[in-house]
């Protein structure tokens, strides 16, 4: 290697994780070439003095102590959240609440957007569920609910039965037969049994 090539390798040799072969090549050249050895010593001395000045500084307790306290506080706050996350019996409403809490706790815009989307999705799912339940009750089933309430069947149970009846029954406006279809009849019999 020429002196110019060796000087270009000075930077590589300054790296603590430098390639051992390059380091050995440079070191062997420096032991033979006084000019390069002098240039390398100058560079090394400049680095040492610059680094020693730049490294001068201190830890400010007024800055670090509140930061450390904040992290400890954050750890305490995150503990109950972790417990809830592992609970397998979370209802959709609890999940929605958790999402809202996470959204409020998130500092970055992207995290807020992500949690916001999750919360919005849950709201849509819940609303769709609610609307599908109410629309499932057909006008024709009101009479069945009335007759069941006379027989003492609880209202929620009646609602479920009504939904099931509506799902399995033939269309109400069918002109062929006013009687309930065979599947509806079967269900009604199963329910009354």
């Amino acid at each position: 290697m020429t002196c110019q090539q060796i000087k270009r390798q000075f930077e590589a040799v300054s790296d603590p994780a430098a390639d051992i072969c390059t380091r050995m090549q440079v070191e062997s050249h420096l032991s033979e070439c006084p000019g390069c050895a002098h240039a390398f010593t100058e560079l090394h001395e400049l680095d040492e003095s610059l680094h020693s000045i730049l490294r001068r500084g201190s830890r400010t307790p007024a800055l670090w102590n509140p930061i450390e306290a904040m992290i400890s506080e954050e750890a305490k706050l995150s503990a109950p959240e972790g417990r809830r996350k592992e609970d397998p019996d979370l209802t959709p409403w609890q999940l929605l609440r958790l999402a809202a809490e996470r959204w409020l706790a998130a500092t970055s815009l992207s995290a807020r957007a992500a949690w916001g989307c999750l919360a919005a999705t849950w709201i849509v799912i819940l609303l769709l569920n609610m609307t599908s339940h109410t629309s499932d009750i057909q006008p024709g089933t009101a009479a069945a609910i009335a007759s069941n309430s006379e027989a003492g069947v609880p209202a929620t149970r009646q609602h479920l039965m009504a939904v099931e009846v509506a799902a399995f029954s033939e269309p109400v406006e069918s002109p062929r037969d006013d009687r309930p279809g065979p599947r509806t009849q079967l269900t009604m019999e199963r329910r009354s049994a």
């Binding site: 930077e11 590589a12 300054s14 790296d15 603590p16 994780a17 560079l43 400049l46 680095d47 610059l50 680094h51 000045i53 730049l54 490294r55 001068r56 500084g57 201190s58 830890r59 400010t60 800055l63 670090w64 930061i67 450390e68 904040m70 992290i71 400890s72 954050e74 750890a75 305490k76 995150s78 503990a79 109950p80 972790g82 417990r83 592992e86 500092t107």
Partner: protein, 179 residues
């Protein structure tokens, strides 16, 4: 579960404490507005704590923290226009009239000279020099830290060192000629 949360924080703080001084020194030298150093450090540490789940053991914690802090400092620096030459010049003029017989005063003057010279480097040159000098990172870690190729790290470091040498020499020469 509560123990897990506090263990997490304890582990994070145990890794953070030994490098707090270096992080602070690095940030104070890297940031343009000195009063924003505390904000940058606080934001970086909290960001690092939140991302600590994703921290991989094979990466050095020191290099990982310096990376987060560098990004925070660069983001704050981008908000401000580069400090004008005039402002640096005023500092240098004020320093030239300083009595230099006291060793502490001399050290302070030298420190101010180096800080002034440091401010005239580009963001990348300054960051590379500081990551090497204060962070003690390898070139590969610096390249990863700043998202630049390894060759650019060596180039930036050589340029930064050369500029610092020229600026400090010029100042020393001008002082000697004054005397």
């Amino acid at each position: 579960m509560h123990n897990n949360g506090s263990d997490h924080a304890t582990r994070f703080l145990a890794l953070l404490r030994p490098i707090e001084r270096d992080l602070e020194t690095y940030c104070r030298r890297l940031i343009w507005q000195p009063d924003e150093a505390a904000d940058a450090i606080q934001n970086a540490v909290l960001r690092a704590y939140k991302a600590f789940d994703r921290y991989r053991e094979e990466a050095r914690f020191r290099a990982w923290m310096f990376k987060i802090l560098t990004r925070e400092a660069f983001a704050l620096n981008r908000k401000h226009a580069r400090i004008s030459f005039h402002e640096v010049q005023v500092d240098r003029d004020a320093l030239s009239g300083f009595a230099g017989d006291d060793i502490h005063a001399f050290a302070e003057e030298l420190e101010a000279e180096v800080s002034a010279a440091l401010r005239r480097l580009t963001d990348t040159e300054r960051a590379v020099l500081l990551l090497r000098a204060i962070g003690g990172l390898s070139y590969k870690e610096i390249a990863d830290n700043l998202d630049i190729p390894l060759g650019s790290v060596m180039g930036s470091l050589a340029r930064a060192r050369s500029k610092m040498q020229t600026m400090l020499k010029r100042k020393t020469c001008s002082k000697e000629s004054c005397i």
